[in-house]
Symmetry: C2
Subunit: 705 residues, 2 copies
């Protein structure tokens, strides 16, 4: 029972959630379960009750905006869902009598959908029985409503049973105007309902760009009426109809989210070619790619027919996507065919294109003309950056901040994705510390002491403004529609805070405290990061009870980085293993590590290992109880080694605590043998897993004298 | 950790789920995780593998039926969902090469939707690498596909990792042609997505009637275009649009489910009257009812305008509901206004109507003409039975089997709902033992030894055929859209087995074994009986970890019958308490009771209490760990007494096991004092709860010598 260490005294407490009577000191902004943390928050004494009289009014020139009307109507429904209080539509006679009084000072600068840079600022004041939300423009009202919803919390005894919002004053606006998620739906298709759930989540944490990676080698995921063989032969039947796309774009628009489509060209484009092999550099025939990697197929940039096709295609797509930006991919072009096919070599010679990069720049310039002719600004990954391209393009960097800063010096706008790859299974804290305006912690100088190239401090204010923000990226080779929610959430909320909140907001314990609450709050939107994984574990457990497998899974994390790709999965591989059914980051293991650090830092006379031992016993018992299951279930037998590892680690830790708690020294050789038992799992994978308590256990063993 | 007693050796084992190599005896039908159990099942050695080559073909004259085409397409999708194996649409060149070969011998006797009595029989044969499903007509194919999906199970080691279907031969057809759920959406509205989830569940357990209780005193839930004030003033804005109704009827039709609408008249009709007070017996004005009970408002059967309104209204509704039957309610008419209002008394005298029942019969005859004129057969609750009504009507009995048998003797068709009220929170076994053709166990003769009136054995075969089947009923005064799945499932699956399977299928341990597997299987359809309750408990726990509250909740059940109605809830009452967040029946407590019985029946020298003690310790620890939470959370403080009760019971049981396991006798007075501690909870509620291990703990204490 993990709750041994997560009783309400020991767990990181969001102090607001305790009754005010218990609090000796004023609340801080970071005591509120808000994520992203607003720019300015002050907390006063008192609350406004949320009960069956709850009502909402919206006034001011911007209040008639359809997005504000929708969000205000949703506010009541979501409060009802979060609290269980039935709320029926109510006619509020005077706007000033409503519980939530929304004032939108101005109409939007233009009709929906929003554009980059639209005003998202708002303020909230909770006092005198009302929650007052004031926004300059409609988008600010949407952002403020999300903040209000996060503030609704259960009262604590001796306050009356029910819910309330604490008395606060908030002034808030985003640090960056471009805050997004790039989602790959090519490697594994995510049906429309999964996209809508994701959009609900994005809006809830104030992200405002949904970058839709619609095509790649493994699948072409959107219906073209002009070129229907794209989806007919490129998608296995798994694609969005144009009606679905329109519905999703409208859904995003109502939530203040821009939709930027990406069609990756000229590489990562195999799925276009089964239907239209004439687009490819080789003659074909082509098939959808079932594996992954940087593949040989690449469009033929030497044929005019390629550009005619792309012009028609882009012309069709821009009718579906109203956003100003159009992403053409441009990453990881495999130069092999271009460098070897005679007709392409001849073309390069003729056009004095020295190498494949120059040929890609030529292709991009042609594409730029097409995109521009259809009224769009072009976006692409790092590789498209080339002096011949105009300053209107936007660079999305998968390489590093440094390349963005360099681009900014040259006058290009940029968006950072390096450091925000959610598919690599790193903890929230890793992404949280990545900042578009800071040298990454992972930067390794060529020579010790060398500065990072181009510190952002050297950028002029105008250049700095060209860094528009960032996008988390989720590549889907190893993720499916079944587990996408858990791959995105809650880690994406921490990244959202990085993009929205002031640069100074960097306290990791505070982030995790708030992330934990927000993670559960997100479930009221229908996100399935918990329930879907439980169902997957239930499938693995089959006929047996899943409780011990659930407990056991809380001491595991998937391997990090690209290690799991060694299995060479294909589109036909089932992702129904234990490693697929656990979250990328174990909150229970993180708490255990914090508790171990606290224990080791305390004086021997005052510390207690009771909670640590209870947690370890729960994990050890779970490991023991599931052994018959692992031995008998065909999908679980592969997990016996990790069961051994957890058993070893828990035993070593319990042993170490025994010696640390008592005056008795361990037997000779104990420390050496346990340290070597434990070291084999410390920062080392066991199959597809890491055991994220191994380093803490190592510390416990090392602390024994 | 409840899993202490639910390890795979001790838990009721569905033997098929163990590897065939471990089995010394042939499998039985009840070893298969099938519910409802088919009429005839034989099990052979061997399996058919389910892997990424899975495919489906459908042939024969009935295979082009849209329902068969849809179900066959869903079969692949659902196998993919159940197994995690990616399945792309495949072109099968020869039907006989498919994994699942569906043969439908005849077209349906008429176009969809189905009608009462349509052929639902099918057979399944799993052998030689194929699953052959043969049905006479399209509906049989739908039923057989559900059976096949229940057979898909994970292989057990040493078989290869993956899934398979065991070699079986099944011939199956239903016992009763009318197998339904009556769902009240008036007391609490269930949005369209909840209805669709419910329809998925009904189809999965072969239920074929969705009886939609669309109006009652507390809400009028369907859009009328002829009389729009019905929904405008009668629904708080919570109603189904006609588009939604058409969509839901089509959704049900594709799943082989009839939709029978009910408009309750002339009582239970207050919600019609705010918009159209002229329909009521009094002058009004009327308001939607916020409480519950048998209320005074009743339609005025003396005015011709009432019948003109109802004729127009029924005329509009029959365009939405294609089923042959139309339910007019007719239950619980409060006679007070009829018995006291002069204009109604005068009408009764003029028409020689002796009492309110005679006046209702007059109303029903007028209504019958309207319903018949619009091409429908009339259905109603017990009270509509009257000698003047023709034999074409169907009686739904909330009173008992005996009244149905009596009606059958008089030539009326009937459907049983008495004994199947899911809102009363009784365990699955209680409903399971209720049979439309058997004297209920609750029957109490007036004098000891008196036989039950009208044994079904006295019915002629033709009369017996008039008992069409049954309907579970879910009344929604205390249930909401949030917890409806848990109120229905899994208990509804046990009732479905009663209606489908042979009368002889009555073994309760077998039922529970299969129910447990099927309950989890149903979640793959998107049913939320587990995940929604978890979310509700998380809301209660607020900032604290929910694990211990989850464990604690497994030793609780809600009070049974109508006890909880003493709180006089209204439409504004939040149902967000702990009792709302737990299932009606605790599977863990049931297993504990079974284990106690086994322990007490065994010889002292061979029995072990280890698992019992582990379970009790888990519950006791959870009760202790959540005390600070119960003390601090405003919605949980009311639950401190049940925490005390669980603590007392677990302590008494652990104490008793200590004495039962050892040779040491207890101190003097121990037994007396513990028995009195325990007796206060044995079959007695604690607040809104019962503690379903209390009787077993009582037995343990009593067994101490």
């Amino acid at each position: 029972m993990i709750s041994a260490i997560i009783n309400i005294h020991q767990m990181p407490v969001i102090r607001y959630l305790l009754t005010a009577a218990l609090l000796a000191t004023p609340l801080l902004a970071t005591d509120l379960p808000l994520m992203p943390l607003p720019a300015h928050v002050t907390v006063q004494a008192g609350t406004v009750a949320i009960d069956s009289q709850f009502s909402v009014s919206a006034s001011g020139p911007g209040a008639t905006d359809p997005r504000v009307q929708f969000a205000a109507a949703q506010l009541s429904k979501r409060v009802a869902r979060q609290t269980g209080i039935p709320l029926f539509p109510k006619a509020v006679t005077k706007p000033e009598d409503a519980t939530v009084i929304i004032q939108v000072n101005h109409r939007a600068a233009h009709e929906p959908p929003q554009r980059l840079g639209d005003n998202e600022s708002y303020s909230v004041s909770v006092a005198d029985g009302h929650i007052r939300l004031t926004a300059e423009e409609p988008l600010g009202a949407l952002r403020g409503i999300e903040t209000i919803l996060q503030l609704v919390q259960q009262n604590h005894s001796p306050d009356p049973a029910g819910f309330s919002v604490p008395a606060v004053t908030i002034q808030d606006s985003p640090r960056f105007p471009w805050r997004g998620l790039s989602l790959d739906v090519s490697r594994h298709f995510i049906p429309a309902d999964g996209i809508k759930r994701t959009l609900d989540g994005l809006a809830a944490v104030k992200l405002n760009v949904f970058h839709w990676h619609l095509s790649d080698d493994q699948g072409f995921r959107i219906e073209s009426k002009k070129y229907p063989r794209l989806q007919e032969l490129g998608s296995d039947g798994l694609f969005y109809t144009q009606d679905e796309v329109r519905e999703i774009v409208a859904y995003a628009t109502m939530r203040g989210i821009r939709v930027v489509p990406e069609f990756d060209m000229p590489g990562h484009s195999t799925s276009w070619l089964p239907g239209y092999p004439e687009l490819g550099s080789s003659e074909g025939p082509y098939e959808i790619v079932r594996g992954s990697g940087v593949l040989p197929a690449v469009m033929d940039p030497t044929k005019e027919s390629t550009y005619q096709f792309l012009s028609n295609f882009v012309g069709e797509m821009v009718t579906l996507f109203p956003d100003e930006y159009f992403h053409i991919g441009g990453d990881e072009v495999n130069p092999k065919q271009w460098n070897t096919f005679p007709h392409i070599q001849a073309f390069m010679a003729e056009h004095k294109l020295a190498n494949a990069a120059a040929l890609q720049a030529y292709f991009n310039q042609r594409l730029l003309k097409i995109v521009t002719a259809h009224g769009k600004r072009m976006e692409g990954w790092d590789e498209i950056l080339h002096p011949d391209l105009p300053k209107t393009i936007v660079i999305q960097s998968w390489r590093s901040q440094m390349s963005l800063w360099q681009a900014a010096r040259e006058g290009y706008q940029g968006v950072l994705s390096a450091g925000y790859y959610l598919d690599l299974m790193y903890p929230a804290s890793t992404h949280y510390l990545v900042d578009p305006m800071k040298v990454p912690l992972t930067f390794k100088p060529k020579k010790p002491g060398d500065p990072a190239p181009g510190s952002p401090a050297d950028l002029t204010p105008d250049q700095a403004k060209l860094i528009l923000g960032g996008e988390a990226a989720m590549w889907e080779e190893l993720a499916t529609a079944e587990d996408i929610d858990a791959k995105l959430w809650p880690r994406l909320a921490a990244i959202a805070e990085r993009f929205w909140s002031p640069e100074s907001v960097t306290d990791i314990p505070s982030m995790y405290q708030r992330l934990d609450v927000v993670n559960r709050w997100l479930e009221w939107l229908g996100l399935q990061q918990r329930s879907n994984l439980e169902l997957m574990r239930q499938r693995l457990a089959g006929d047996a009870a899943v409780g011990s497998l659930d407990t056991f899974s809380t001491v595991l994390e998937p391997v990090k980085g690209y290690v799991r790709h060694r299995h060479k999965y294909t589109s036909f591989s089932p992702f129904n293993h234990l490693v697929d059914s656990i979250p990328p980051e174990s909150e229970q293991a993180r708490r255990f590590r914090v508790a171990v650090d606290q224990y080791l830092a305390m004086d021997k006379s005052t510390r207690s290992s009771a909670n640590l031992r209870a947690t370890l016993s729960d994990w050890a018992n779970a490991a023991q109880r599931i052994r018959p299951l692992l031995q008998s279930n065909s999908l679980l037998t592969e997990d016996l080694p990790v069961d051994d590892a957890v058993t070893t680690l828990c035993a070593a830790a319990l042993d170490a605590l025994k010696y640390l708690d008592s005056a008795t020294p361990p037997p000779a050789n104990w420390k050496q043998s346990q340290a070597s038992n434990v070291a084999q799992y410390d920062n080392k994978p066991v199959g597809d897993f890491v055991i994220p308590i191994a380093s803490a256990v190592h510390s416990l063993v090392n602390a024994v004298q």
